[in-house]
Amino acid sequence: MLAHYRWWLVAMQASVVVVPLISLLAWRGAMAHGAEPPVTRDYLTTYLVLVSLVTMLTSSWTARFLAESIRLGHLNAWLVRPCSTHLAAVANNVAEKIAKLVTLLPVVVLLAVVFHRDVELPESPGRWLLFGWTLAMGGTMTFGFDVVVGSLAFWWDEVAAVDRFRQLAALFFSGALIPLAVMPHAWGPFLQVQPWGYAVAFPIRTLLEPDAATLRTGLAVQTAWVLLTLVAARLVWVRGLRRYSGVGA
């Protein structure tokens, strides 16, 4: 049984890398045939090698479970204890990241070795620290969104549709599927203020772009989104609890 789960975890992590890998091969093929994207070949390669890792590290999967526990009354067991319900969700998310990192990191390193001529990573520890900080902030923002969506179950019986819509928007606008840098130029202002890009594209950009002004602006916008989602999560949660009926025991 345990072996089954281990292989399942490995297979799942391998599949996470497949989409950016296909995207990477498609872009490199197109550039070899004369396509001229607005970024360099090195930028694209480094971005697409790192994207699966960053997407995994800043993801959160709390909404569905939170909604279910509200709907079925499982939340009762948490609410009568002197401990935050969300602390358990945070612990689960962090543990999941550590477990997945063990399997995903070797795959990403392998990709980096294969494409090493076009992978450019900074050597300065400060940039890596900044990368770590933006990852943590991106993960916090995603978790905040998750709590907001999951807490809607205090009002609605079913929040799966909202959650699915949010996931689709995140997939497209975070840069997990297509790098935001290659999206139409006219979308620029929107892409700079929308939140999802600060969970995936922005942390990667801290390693790729040395432009201090862009980094400063990005950090400010990311911090604003993190604060906004945390405040929204707190508000929705507190108001939702007032409506909670603790169904079934």
Binding site: A77, V80, R81, P82, Y244, G248
Partner: protein
């Protein structure tokens, strides 16, 4: 761990406590479902109305009532799960709806039908999580685990994953988890559900013991009248969201005014039950004694189940 800061204040004090649920009603059938997409009818359900209740430190009370009477809603309000619509409620010196740390660290809740233990790990691991949550000092934790393990007969299974335990074993482990931080107030909702006769006796004995040893106040909701009879001296009957009786069990029996019976046993093994109503006990015995074979006469009190069925059915007994 937080110690109780109650002073002379009752453990539970509720005045004019009410809870109303706003429920959307959907007309039946496909047409009703389609209509429900555009307009839904909002209905107010009054689960608890004007409840006055005071529970003093160290009491064991039975909160009883038929299904849907509102007793679970009362427990949920008292444990901070639900916010009351109206009235005043203080539990352990706090307002439960705020779910403050001092409040939550003084109470414990046992849901007979819902697990508090973590399913995939052992009971010992769950106990360790509670040690952190309730800030129990290590030495006291070790003593408490050893005591509870012995008392509940779970020492051997403390390291078994919860999913591998039988229902009876799980319930005993749930009890250990609930009692670990030595709560001031324990809400026990169907605590003996699924337990065998022997385990039920153990649980009742344990409740009595923690009540006497630590002065733990216990609010018991149960459909098992043996639990109530064994533990609760005081019962509160809830019907239709209102407390219709609050007093001692003996008083409830008197108020229900159910007749006693005489059980007459004859030599051939026959047992006759004769209602003791207008006819005096002496008359019944004299009449029975005329028959040769009478070997035993016993007066049978109505069972608590019968009393409750009568009380719930009639909705009587406001003191």
């Amino acid at each position: 761990m937080h110690s109780s800061a109650l002073g002379s204040e009752p453990v539970i004090s509720a005045q004019a406590l009410s809870k109303r649920y706003d429920v959307y009603r959907q007309p039946p059938g496909l047409l009703g479902a389609l209509r429900g997409l555009v307009s839904r009818e909002l209905t107010a359900v009054h689960a608890v109305t004007d409840l006055d209740l005071t529970v003093e430190h160290g009491e064991i009370i039975g909160l009883l009532g038929p299904n849907g009477a509102g007793k679970t809603t009362i427990v949920k309000m008292m444990s901070g799960l639900l916010v009351p619509t109206d009235g005043r409620l203080r539990v352990c010196g706090c307002r439960p709806a705020t779910r403050s740390y001092p409040f939550l660290s003084q109470i414990s809740v046992i849901f007979g039908q819902k697990a508090m233990l973590w399913w995939d790990v052992s009971t010992r691991e769950s106990l360790k999580i509670h040690r952190s949550m309730y800030e129990i000092p290590s030495r006291r934790f070790a003593t408490a685990v050893a005591e509870l393990g012995e008392l509940l007969g779970i020492t051997e299974i403390l390291d078994t994953p919860v999913r591998h335990l039988s229902l009876g074993q799980r319930m005993r482990c749930e009890l250990a988890l609930a009692l670990l931080h030595r709560p001031t107030l324990l809400f026990a909702d169907e605590p003996t559900i699924g337990l065998d006769v022997q385990a039920k006796v153990v649980v009742r004995h344990l409740f009595r013991e923690i009540n006497q040893a630590f002065g733990t106040t216990i609010v018991l909701t149960s459909h098992d009248m043996s639990d109530v009879e064994a533990l609760a001296e005081r019962v509160v009957i809830v019907t239709g969201g209102r407390a219709t009786f609050d007093g001692e069990l003996a008083e409830l029996r008197t108020r229900a005014a159910l007749p006693k019976h005489a059980a007459l046993t004859y030599r051939d093994g026959r047992v006759e039950r004769v209602r003791l109503g207008d006819e005096g006990f002496g008359d019944v015995v004299r009449a029975a004694a005329r028959s040769d074979g009478l070997v035993d006469v016993r007066v049978v009190e109505p069972g608590l189940d019968e009393v409750m069925a009568h009380v719930f059915g009639e909705g009587v007994v406001k003191p």
